[in-house]
Every structure is written in structure tokens, then in C-alpha cells.
């Protein structure tokens, strides 16, 4: 234990003698003339027989007053213990609220433990210290920005609730923390997490980063995948259960179809199975089933994360998508589109013929209409300019390569699993895109594949005709078509019905629909926002099946189901990480853990003790009155008993 302000102890040296002096002055008794001391003298003679005790009792008050003084002086000197904690004046707390923080291996939950740790850190903040509280997991949120108000900090920490959205991502939060700490000296970043977060490698934090690991155990079983697909006997259900711990475990998996129990499966993992090993259940289920739910029965000591013990899958049997091809006819395209599930293709030579229902995606193969239809557009080798882009000529034998912007970071979704460099092209249109467009593939300085959004619609332009290249002959072609259709018509197909928490639901809306409503898993009905032919509903933080209904008047004209599941192996493997690799300017490559730099001050307790002693001192001082009161009370009781 050390003292922050040892000089304050001098106050005891000053006030202490003052108290003693005043006490000695007080000992000069009040003089009073009495008729005779005859009776008093006789009494005092008796009393003096136990004089030492008398003297001791007389000094009780002095003793208590000195005790109060000592307690207050020590409190003023601000003693503290070193604990794990922080030592800076500008604290940036990054608190993990991702799904894995719901684990109950520490009571009551990891999130609560993290909150407590955060309160402790705020407590350790020196006078006038600032704190910023950032919550990661799902959408990053700055709940308290550089405040000196401790109550605000505590309120902010209290307001952090679990977010089962995407995995906790440190990169954004650390970037913000780095910016904040660069501005202010003596900064510290405290990461309170179980370590199941994405750690960026490219951020150098100009402050000490401390990591406060939360959590103790890693036993968890999760439903890691679940789909419902059309099959030979109606539908086929596929459930994958993964065990993340290493202890042998046997669990029962209950399967519910549209709310009623269908089957139960016994799953057992032995100690020999590696952590992360999984088992799969495949079941044939009737075609009319709409929602399937799988539940792992609870096992308190073998599974600390209940969130991932339930999963849902929805049937896609009744969803379809209209794609219209306008052009002279293209066999490659028609074949590729036919391979996609749930896609209805209509063909037309010109865009004049109105199609009902309005196609969600219109493909212009080597033609460009006078007026562009509604919905999303895919141009293939446009022969002339439109409002969206201009065509300035022809490029011969372009050499394709991904655009530089696409190399940095991740592959854009359109080029997923596709290599364009070995595609040979005879001739391509020279397209000058508008500012809305992003070039994904270019050839000899001319954009070949561009994609983007303009006025609420998505547009993809492929600069060459399929017949002028060997692309249709390559494996990449059906994948590219699938990617493009997935991009142009989001919310369709198998993939789209399975979304992660926090990801918005996007549904193409029939123009005749008057309203779109969403039935949430908890039964609440909410209206979705409709804009440019798309309904978007973003509050999908709750796991479970969602039903999106399009309504015309009183009539439901279309229903679509979505399942929001936490299929995230990173969140389900809840074993806490003991170290966190965060590069710092100081050269450390690892966040500091368990360094005893925090100062746990205890002056509050001393002040409370002093207050208690003050109360005791007052009682001792008033003991005569108290005894008198007690006597009166006793008399009163006796009188009442007699009268009763």
C-alpha cells in the first residue's frame, strides 16, 4: 500500500495536538457552588476505588476523536493498492459486446463481468481523467466520447447490451482509439473482451494497450449450419453441430417443424474428437414445411453459450425471381440462368413488351432501349451510349485484369471465386462510366466490368459480347452469372434467406403492394421501409425466423421468410484468449495483460469508517441522555404493563 498525497499526514500532526489541547482545556471543569460537598465527598470516596477505570472512560471521547482524526488524515493521504488496471489519464475502453460475451462461464455473464471491469477502470481514473467508451460487436458504437463525468461513463457502460450481430471487430475501434490517443498524451487503451475478436494487423496504436481477458472456459456446442433445400422427397434438412470444447459430451438435438416436434437425435463427441469437430444430420422432411427449428437441449456445465443452441431454416419452395433477357437471343446466358434455383427467365427481342410481373432484373444483350425500364439492369456489350454511361469506341484484344482498386482489401462479391486473367476477349466496347460506377475488371485501360448503384437501382455493365470471348466456355462463367444475379437481385436464392444478425432484410417489392410488414420472431409486427422497389428492414438483431409480407389492401400478395442465425464459428468458440496481438508504437506487439499498474484507492472506505466513528463518538457523548431515555422508556413500559 502506498500513499498518493503523503503530505496530508501532516494535517494529523497539526490537528492532533489541537484536539488534545482542547481536551485538556475541557478538563478544567465548570465550577459550581453547592451548599456543601459533604454528600459528594462521601460519594467520590466510593468512586475513587475504581478510579483507573473512571479515567479510562473519561478519555473515551478523546480516543474516538483521535481515531476519527487518524482515519481522515489517512483518507486525505489517499492510500491505494496496486491492482491490474490502468495508469493513464485518458482512457479508451473498448468493450466487447459480441455474441460470445453472453457466455455464462463467469456469473452472471461475461458481459456483466466486462462491465464490472469497466467500472473498476473508471474508478481508477485519476481526478480529471477522461474516458471514451467504445462498444464493439455488431455495429461499433461510441457510447461515451471523451468525457470527464464519471456518472456519464458509468451510465454509458451500463447501457451496453449484447449484440449478436457480426463478430467483434477491433480494427475500427482501434483506429478510432489510435486517433484519440494520438491527440492526447498519457493515453491508454483498455480492451475488455474474451479475445474472440478480429485483430487488425495494420494499426499501430500510439498508446499502451491493455487487455483485460474475460471468461474462463471454452466448453460450447453450437449449431453451426442449417439449411432447408428442395430434395427428392419434398425437402431436405441439413444440420451441422459443432463442439468447440474438448470434453466428451452427449447432447440431444430436437428438431421442430413449423413449431411441433418432429424428431430428436443423440449426438455424442468423445475426448478423441478434436475441438471444432462437427457432426451432420440430414433429414428428409415434407414439402409443405415452412420453418424448421433445431434446438440443442441445455446442459449447464457442458455449454456456456446458449445463444447458438438454436437455429432456424426456412423453406424456399415458393420464392421466385423474374429475369428478362432483351436481345437477339443468347444460349449461353439462358443456360447459365436456368441453373440458378428460383429464377424465372423471360425473353424478348425488345424492351417494349411490358412483362407482368415486372422483372427484377433486365438483361440487355447487345441492345440498348430508348427508355430504360425499372428494376436493376445488366448491360452486355452496349452498342451505344445511355444516360448511365457513354460508349466511345471499340477495344481490340484487351488483356483483362482485376482493377487495382479491387486488389486492395477483399475481393468484391462479383468476382468471388473467379479468375478473369485467363479470359480471352476479341473485341470490347470502350465504355466511359459515370461516377456511380466502380470498375472491377479493366482491359488495356478501358473498363471491362463495372458495377454500381444509381438512383436506387443496381447496374452492371460487361463491355464485351459473350460470343466475342471464351468466357462462356470457362468454369468462371456460371459463377459470374450467379454472382451478378445475386448482386442485382439481393434477397433471392438460398443464400439470401439465411442471414446473420444485424444484416438487413432486402426484398424486391411488387409495385402494386401498398405496404410491407415484417413479423419478427417474437411475434411483433413492424412495417418495413420501402424505397425504389425494395423493402429494407434492418433491426434483425434477434435470432429466429422472420416473415416479410407484401400487402395490397387487405390481401397478402407475397410472403418471404428469412432465418437469422448465429452461424459464426468465431463467436461460438468461446474459449477466451489470454493474449491479444496489438501492435503499439512503443514496440510492443502484444496488449499488456496482468500488469499491476492500476491504483485502487481506498479513501472512500476510510471516510465511511470515520463517519461511523463520528456516530459512535456522538453516542458516547450523549450517553447520559441515552441512559435517561432508556430509563424513561423502561418506566413507560412498566407503567403500561401495570395498567394492562
Amino acid at each position: 500500500m502506498s500513499l498518493l498525497a503523503p503530505l496530508a499526514l501532516l494535517s494529523a500532526l497539526i490537528v492532533g495536538p489541537l484536539i488534545v489541547a482542547m481536551y485538556l482545556l475541557k478538563l478544567r471543569r465548570e465550577e459550581r457552588r453547592v451548599s456543601s460537598t459533604f454528600l459528594w465527598r462521601r460519594m467520590v470516596r466510593d468512586v475513587e476505588a475504581n478510579a483507573p477505570w473512571q479515567r479510562l472512560r473519561r478519555s473515551w471521547l478523546l480516543f474516538l476523536q483521535l481515531l476519527i482524526l487518524i482515519l481522515l488524515a489517512i483518507a486525505l493521504a489517499r492510500p491505494f493498492f496496486l491492482t491490474t488496471g490502468i495508469s493513464g489519464r485518458n482512457l479508451i475502453i473498448i468493450l466487447d459486446r459480441s455474441a460470445s460475451m453472453a457466455a455464462t462461464d463467469v456469473t452472471p455473464s461475461r458481459l456483466e463481468a466486462a462491465r464490472r471491469q469497466a467500472y473498476t477502470l473508471v474508478e481508477q481514473l485519476p481526478e480529471g481523467g477522461r474516458a471514451t467508451v467504445i462498444a464493439i460487436g455488431g455495429q461499433m458504437e461510441v457510447v461515451a466520447a471523451s468525457t470527464t463525468d464519471r456518472r456519464q461513463m458509468n451510465d454509458a457502460i451500463r447501457s451496453i447490451t449484447l449484440s449478436v450481430g457480426s463478430r467483434g471487430d477491433l480494427s475500427q475501434a482501434l483506429a478510432l482509439a489510435a486517433a484519440l490517443s494520438a491527440r492526447e498524451p498519457d493515453s491508454e487503451v483498455a480492451i475488455i473482451s474474451d479475445g474472440n475478436v478480429q485483430v487488425p494487423t495494420d494499426i499501430l496504436v500510439p498508446a499502451t494497450v491493455r487487455y483485460f481477458p474475460i471468461g474462463q472456459r471454452g466448453e460450447n456446442m453450437a449449431i453451426s449450419a442449417m439449411t432447408l433445400q428442395p430434395g427428392p422427397a419434398g425437402q431436405m434438412l441439413f444440420v451441422q453441430v459443432t463442439r468447440y470444447g474438448s470434453a466428451p459430451v452427449t447432447r440431444r438435438l430436437d428438431l421442430y417443424l413449423d413449431g411441433s416436434l418432429f424428431n430428436a437425435y443423440e449426438l455424442s463427441f468423445t475426448a478423441d474428437d478434436a475441438p471444432g469437430s462437427s457432426q451432420t444430420i440430414i433429414a428428409d422432411i415434407p414439402a409443405q414445411v415452412r420453418v424448421a427449428e433445431a434446438r440443442l437441449n441445455s446442459a449447464p456445465n457442458e455449454d456456456y453459450l446458449p445463444t447458438d443452441d438454436r437455429a432456424w431454416a426456412v423453406s424456399q419452395a415458393d420464392s421466385s425471381m423474374n429475369v428478362q433477357i432483351v436481345g437477339p437471343g443468347n444460349r449461353f446466358l439462358a443456360t447459365a440462368l436456368a441453373l440458378l434455383p428460383g429464377v424465372t427467365v423471360t425473353s424478348a427481342t425488345t424492351a417494349a413488351g411490358a412483362v407482368d410481373p415486372a422483372p427484377q432484373v433486365t438483361i440487355f444483350d447487345r441492345v440498348v432501349p430508348e427508355t430504360l425500364p425499372t428494376g436493376n439492369l445488366f448491360f452486355i456489350a452496349p452498342p451505344r451510349s445511355t444516360d448511365l454511361f457513354s460508349v466511345t469506341g471499340v477495344v481490340e484484344f484487351p488483356l483483362l485484369r482485376p482493377a487495382p482498386s479491387a486488389i486492395e482489401g477483399q475481393t468484391p462479391p462479383l468476382l468471388r471465386n473467379i479468375s478473369v486473367s485467363d479470359v480471352n476477349v476479341l473485341r470490347a466496347m470502350r465504355v466511359e462510366p459515370g461516377i456511380w460506377a466502380r470498375v472491377l475488371v479493366e482491359g488495356d485501360g478501358s473498363p471491362i466490368l463495372i458495377a454500381g448503384e444509381r438512383e436506387g437501382r443496381r447496374i452492371v455493365v460487361l463491355a464485351f459480347a459473350l460470343q466475342d470471348s471464351d468466357l462462356p466456355l470457362q468454369v468462371a462463367f456460371p459463377l459470374l452469372v450467379s454472382n451478378i444475379i445475386g448482386y442485382l437481385a439481393p434477397g433471392s436464392g438460398l443464400e439470401a434467406s439465411q442471414i446473420t444478425p444485424g444484416q438487413p432484410l432486402i426484398v424486391a417489392v411488387d409495385p402494386s403492394a401498398t405496404a410491407v410488414r415484417v413479423v419478427r420472431p417474437d411475434g411483433r409486427v413492424e412495417a418495413a421501409q420501402v424505397q425504389d422497389g425494395q423493402a429494407i428492414y434492418a433491426s434483425t438483431g434477434m435470432l429466429g425466423p422472420y416473415l416479410v409480407e407484401q400487402v395490397r389492401g387487405d390481401q397478402v400478395i407475397e410472403q418471404r421468410r428469412f432465418a437469422v442465425n448465429l452461424f459464426d464459428p468465431d463467436e461460438s468458440s468461446i474459449a477466451p484468449a489470454s493474449e491479444l496481438r496489438v501492435s503499439q508504437v512503443s514496440g510492443l506487439q502484444q496488449a499488456v495483460t496482468r500488469e499491476q499498474v492500476g491504483r485502487q484507492e481506498i479513501w472512500r472506505w476510510l471516510a465511511v469508517a470515520a463517519l461511523l466513528v463520528v456516530v459512535v463518538e456522538w453516542l458516547v457523548y450523549q450517553r447520559t441522555s441515552l441512559a435517561y431515555l432508556r430509563q424513561r422508556f423502561r418506566h413507560m413500559l412498566a407503567a403500561r404493563r401495570q395498567s394492562a
Binding site: 465550577e31 453547592v34 451548599s35 460537598t37 459533604f38 460519594m43 473519561r58 447520559t624
Partner: protein, 313 residues
Amino acid sequence: MSSDHPTDVSLVCHGASVTTSSAQPLFDSAFLRKLDRLTLLTRRAMVGNIQGERRSPRRGSSVEFADFRPYVHGDDIRQIDWNLYARMERFFLKLFVAEEELTIHLLVDNSASMDWGDPHKLTYARRLAAAFGYVALSTLDRVTVTAFAAGAGAQLRGVRGKAGALPLFAFLQRLQPGGSADLAAACKRYVRTAINPGPLILCSDLLDPHWEEALRALGSRPFEITLIHILAPQELRPQLDGDFRLLDAETGEAVEITADLETLQRYLEHLRNWQESIERFCHGRGITYVQVDTAQPVEEFILTMLRQRGVFR
């Protein structure tokens, strides 16, 4: 009327009061009329100097027959019972009970310890003594008042008859609290000098370590002693809280106490024991012991308490 003449001492019987120069009136006239009806009781006949209204152990000339005795030479022949001579043919004198005056001894403790208390103890003692004196004077007894503490002249000797009431009251009003008084020595001195022992009324607080000696000294002559033990309410129920240095009014001696409930309780216990021991002592010596709290009005004390105890009738 009296206030016009501060030094004048007057006894006014109608509508006014007995006053002195300095102090409040001793009594009002209504109370004096009530006192007129009282008589001081004595348990036995005592010798007096001159004829009065009290039975005396002597034979004398009253209407009450006492005894016969044979005539001896020199007796007054008027006292011979001639009827008896006719029957016995011998001379006998017929003797009657003598009725003589009594000397009432009033002893007032005016030591410094009496100059204390609210109501004041000495004032209380003065009024008590005045009442006793007035009752005695109204039954044609002789009254002697003696104050302890003061030196010479602090004694009023032998006033008699109602006319003596005036000097008696004046003397009591003039009585000033003295310094320290040795109760025992004063009593011994009084016993030595007193003539005609009679009823003796001692008004004192007895706050003296030698109170037993004093009472024993008084008991050595055939006085019929009544001890009026005067204590102020502040002595009977002290209201003290805190640390005090108590100074003796007589000796200036100091006692340091820490007054809390426990101390006060112990004080009360001591007080009770002390009073009991006085009472026991008095009982053993035929002394009438009466305690009085000065908070009790004098009139009430005299008219009820003292009559109950058989001091007055």
C-alpha cells in the same frame, strides 16, 4: 406602609404582612390567624420560671387538684384542707398542679450552607422559626432564638407574650447567613448556657460531618427536641450533567465530579442512606425528626405535616 420605612419592623394584622427591611414578608395575616389556633405540644411537664399556661411538675395554684401532704411549720395556712381536718383531725395541705410558662428554644442554623437553594433554605428556616415562635408566644410561652454561625448578639433571649412577636420577627429578619459554623460546637455551647430546658426546635440542613455529635450534645439535657431537616430540591434531586468542580459554600473545599446518570444515582443512594441514618439516630434518642423539602410551601408544611407528626395541635 412598611416599604416607606425600610428599617421599621411592623406586625400588621389586617390586610398587610409582616415585613422587614430587606426580605420578603415572613407571613401574611391570614396565616398568622391560622397559627393562633395552634399549640405546641409537649410530651411531658417541664419547669418554668413564672406562672404560665403549661402544666409544670411543680405544685402550685391552679384549679387542678394534685395531691395532699401533711402540714409542716411555715406552710401557708390558706392551703389547709379544712374538710379533711374535720374528718382526720390532722392538718393536710391540698396541693394543686402548677401552671407555668415554657421556654421554647429555637435553634436556627444560619451557616453558609443554609444560604443556598431555590427556594432559599435560610428563608425557609426563618419562616419556620417565626411560626414556631409565634405559636409559642401566643400560648404565653417564653421563646429563645439562637443562630449558630454568627458571633455575639445572635441570640434573642426570652421574649414573652404576643408583644414579643415583633422583636422575634425583627430578629429573624435581621438574621444574616454566617460563614462556616461548627454545628457540634454550637450545640454544645448552647446546651451549657441554656436555662430551663424545654421544647427545642432545631432548623438545620445538618450538612456537617459532625451532625451526630451535635445531636448527642443536645440530648444530654432534657430538651424535647424536634429536628426539622431542611434540604433544597437541588440537594434532593441534583440536575447536573457534565464535568464539574463543586465548591463548598462554607469551606471552599472543591470536589471534582463527572455527573452522569450513574453518578447521580449513586448520590441519591448516599442521600437516602444519610437521611435514614439520621432518622435511626433520632428515633433512638426520642428526637422528632421531620424532613422538609423547601419546594413545599411553609404554610402547608406547618399546617399539615407538623400537625400529623404531633408537633402542633
